[in-house]
Symmetry: C2
């Protein structure tokens, strides 16, 4: 099957994707990613900070500029941006990048919400509350404006180590679960250790934005702000990170009309999606049938999701592209954007 | 009358304003504004650099944040942003700020195109050509994306001393005319002196972006890039500055579908509009009938235009607001945003 509803009423969201969609990408950095072994969102530790800007450059140009090759894991599994790039190219849906705390700016246009870079949550608070509040307000304003045009917003993310900060938020909210990982062998011990340290600073009576400031990351500020500001339904395109954000959003504004869309690879990997306070839609890009080893690896538990890949797949299906046709186009993107750079 | 056609076929643009409009504001700074006596876009010279961010804060919030009062001339004539704020509030049209070379960032969301601040064109080249080319490319990309939603784009500007850099561009393009001014006594001698110095660096065989890099300003980069990237018709909302930009745009892409919309106060002040290579639409906000001295002053030759005020007036009329009703609402904005801060 192309897509399925894991949880809740999702047909309405799928139908809205046939209309005017705006795809937003909130991207940023947390120094939590500098903890050895916590993420593979970069070919080596020095490159991790370039992953978010390189991801969105790929969306615009089909190639990266801040680094001369696309983001990949150390063993060469390519960024999920390749899936999203394909969906954007096929559908022509307008998209916008939001700087949600970047260390390196992309060579693309981007929206600034004046978000800070996230600190290592094992060591200290992620951000100053006043900085979070200002960036959140800006994101709300932008979300309101951009939603005026669209029938529905889709929001993706790119932030290395984002599943760890998501785990900290979920735990701080009292949700007992484990997040997904870009590795088949989820480095759970490292994540738990970091989160335990972070949670030492949590009292338990914090408001949502206070929690984000203490143990979250700046991408949460952008995503939550845009979703709260939107006058239209919002699909959070991502995996377990979006479960954390959906919980934050619903606590900030219980009327927020959100759903989560992610890949089947995340759904196979984590039961965290069950803790979503909203509908969850699973899209299957069918990469298990790919002739490209770098793509087939997704079905074997590598990478799985990111840069809105699951939502982008759903978008392509909603716009009328079939599963085989979409895969063929993802493979074509892989040939031009990845294989020529290997 | 509410609006009239000064030149060309303008009805089509007016009709499009009844549909989905995106209003963009390209704002920035040129150090040319630091030349004594060249601009009154600020209560005193130290405040001039705050005028563009304060203008767009007014659009978002009805009040300014980077300075505790709205931009005004030294003798208290308020920024034309008050007119644009009123039109945006009445029509609910989505709007976006583009940082086209700001010295001070606004406390609002804004789109970055990585534009440099403009140098004083009397002294040296305004910008490096490579910086202009990068910012232009980003503006083209943003223009393309944002235009996908809309039936028509409207672009306003805020850049103190922008008429002087516009004069330099017009002269460099071989167009013999004089630009308008925010003062009834246009400081023509100062402008001519600055432009003469700037033109010493012009050989005459420059491409449009080379000219902008030599004697223009960064707002031209943003406006021209967005207009060239747009897939839909574009209204350049401004006075004689937009005449310079329309000429640049047409030289970059002769198929660009642009028109200029400005206030009757600019039309009364300058024959430069006759050098527009496109339709020009004149809107009359009727401020001569205002009971507020700060607004009535516009009809006496002060301020006249800026921050898209003429286009915003046209937009309000296209959306069905009558001239008297609009003026009443501008006066209401004046009472809350200006009079309470005096």
């Amino acid at each position: 099957m192309d897509w399925m509803v894991l949880k809740g009423e999702s047909k309405r969201f799928f139908e809205l994707l046939k209309g005017d969609v705006a795809f937003l990408f909130a991207i940023g950095n947390t120094k939590t990613a500098e903890i050895p072994g916590i993420t593979v969102a970069g070919a080596n530790p020095d490159l991790i900070k370039f992953t978010p800007p390189a991801d969105v450059e790929l969306l615009f140009y089909g190639e990266c500029k801040v680094i001369p090759f696309p983001p990949a894991t150390p063993d060469g599994k390519p960024t999920p941006a390749i899936i999203t790039y394909t969906a954007l190219r096929l559908t022509g849906v307008p998209f916008f990048v939001v700087d949600s705390g970047l260390m390196v700016k992309p060579k693309t246009p981007y929206v600034s919400i004046n978000a800070p870079i996230g600190e290592n949550i094992a060591e200290k608070d992620a951000m100053k509350l006043e900085d979070v509040e200002e960036a959140f307000r800006n994101a709300v304003e932008f979300g309101e404006q951009i939603s005026k045009f669209a029938d529905i917003l889709m929001i993706g993310e790119s932030i290395p180590a984002g599943t760890t900060t998501a785990l900290a938020i979920l735990r701080a909210l009292g949700i007992k679960t484990m997040v997904s990982s870009s590795m088949p062998s989820n480095p759970i011990e490292i994540k738990e250790k970091v989160v335990a340290k972070a949670l030492e600073r949590v009292k338990g009576n914090e408001e949502p934005l206070e929690l984000v400031a203490k143990v979250g990351d700046p991408v949460m500020v952008g995503v939550c702000g845009i979703a709260v500001g939107s006058r239209k339904p919002v699909i959070l395109a991502g995996g377990t990170q979006m479960v954390a954000m959906a919980n934050l959003i619903k606590r900030i504004d219980e009327r927020a009309d959100v759903a989560i869309a992610t890949t089947i690879y995340v759904a196979n990997d984590s039961e965290a999606l069950k803790h979503a306070p909203c509908p969850v839609i699973i899209a299957d890009p069918g990469l298990g049938n790919s002739t490209k080893p770098g793509l087939k690896a997704y079905a074997e538990g590598f990478v799985k999701e990111g840069v809105g890949a699951g939502g982008a797949t759903l978008l392509a299906y909603a716009k009328g592209f079939g599963k085989k046709e979409f895969l063929k186009n993802v493979e074509k993107s892989y040939e031009t954007a990845i294989e020529t750079k290997l």
